[in-house]
Amino acid sequence: MKEDENILERAIKAIRNEQIPAGPSQDLVDATVTKLSETQEQSGAASSGGVISLVDRVEAIRSIARFAAAAVLLIVFGYAVGRFSAPRPPDIEELQAALEPAIRRNVVAQLGSDLQAGLATCYDQLSDELSRQQRRDMAQFAVQTLSASSSITNELLAELIEAIDAAQTQDRQWFTAALGQMEAERMRESAAFASFAVRTEEELQGIAQFLSYGMPEDSRVYEFENSDNPDERREK
């Protein structure tokens, strides 16, 4: 791009620095002056050829007059047509009779619409007022109901607490009795176990004595050695 720009600049410079022969020559100047004169003459001839002759003027005036007459006729004709086709002036009573029902209807419709609008406005105001009043009453009623219900609720709660306390006391009594019974049972069973143990021990001792009587000495010793009974080991 820069190269093109440089070429363009060089071209401009070259064309500007191009040697131009001195001129114009006198012949060219004379020829140009002659040509200009001819052109002026031609244009002069053309303008002199454009002079309007008397006949043309008369003809032009006649055509203008014809045009003016036609225009006047047209205007007159238009005026006459307008005049005859124009509507007659209206009869006031007839007009009144014609307009009255329409006006009456319009007035009634207008009044009706105004009344409707007024009623609609009143209805809106009333409904607003009533809704406000209703809300106020409802709020008051709610406050009263709440205050009344709170006292009843308190009483019911007290009764409930008492009932719960009584039930808990009864449960505790039952539980204590059951525990006592279970303890008694346990004591009875432990006594039974103790007597059973004593009896078992005695029986075992009896068995041991019986075995010691019936067996030889070395055998008895062997028997006692393998015994788990501490009393027997003590005797040994």
Binding site: M1, E3, D4, E5, I7, L8, R10, A11, I12, A14, I15, R16, N17, E18, Q19, I20, P21, G23, P24, L28, V29, A31, T32, V33, K35, L36, T39, Q40, S43
Partner: protein, 171 residues
């Protein structure tokens, strides 16, 4: 109606018109045609409107007619068959290679100018070949200064593209 001494106008502004036309066209015959067309255009213009600045007006007309001529020329012939007046570029200072290169550059620029839209080519030439300010160009073309800037910018961009294309074609 404005009374104009055309001989005096030609003698006063003729050299500038000639330079403008010759610089763009590069040969004597086309420049002479363009010279005459420029003054005829100025004469027609002066019939309808009062001319305040003949120098700028003639420069603009010379540029416009030259671009028209360039466009006609390059429509007729290809770039190779240029009708440039080689004797006109002869100079004692530069070498032959440089002369040929410069000749090629000027031909390429003329070719590119002939492909630009008229307004853009006109604005470009008035700015870079005739050293007119943006304000003067805007006054002459009857547009705003900003629009002039836009025209010149577009012309430069398009010329760059043309040059790029021609370089690629030559490669």
């Amino acid at each position: 109606m404005q009374v104009i001494d055309w001989r005096m106008i030609i003698e006063k502004h003729g050299p500038a018109v000639w330079q403008t036309a010759y610089r763009l066209l590069g040969n004597r015959a086309d420049a002479a045609d363009c010279f005459q067309e420029t003054f005829v255009s100025a004469l027609k213009f002066s019939r309808d409107r009062k001319v305040r600045n003949f120098s700028a007006l003639l420069t603009r007309f010379a540029t416009a007619r030259s671009i028209d001529q360039l466009r006609r020329r390059f429509r007729r012939a290809s770039l190779g068959s240029t009708q440039a007046d080689s004797s006109a570029v002869a100079s004692t200072n530069p070498g032959p290679l440089q002369v040929v290169q410069q000749q090629e550059l000027t031909d390429r620029l003329r070719d590119s100018l002939s492909k630009l839209p008229s307004r853009e080519a006109e604005a470009f030439c008035l700015r870079y070949l005739n050293d007119m300010s943006y304000k003067q160009i805007a006054d002459e073309l009857g547009i705003t200064t900003n629009a002039t800037g836009v025209l010149i910018h577009r012309a430069r961009a398009k010329l760059r593209e043309f040059f790029e294309l021609s370089v690629k074609e030559n490669m």
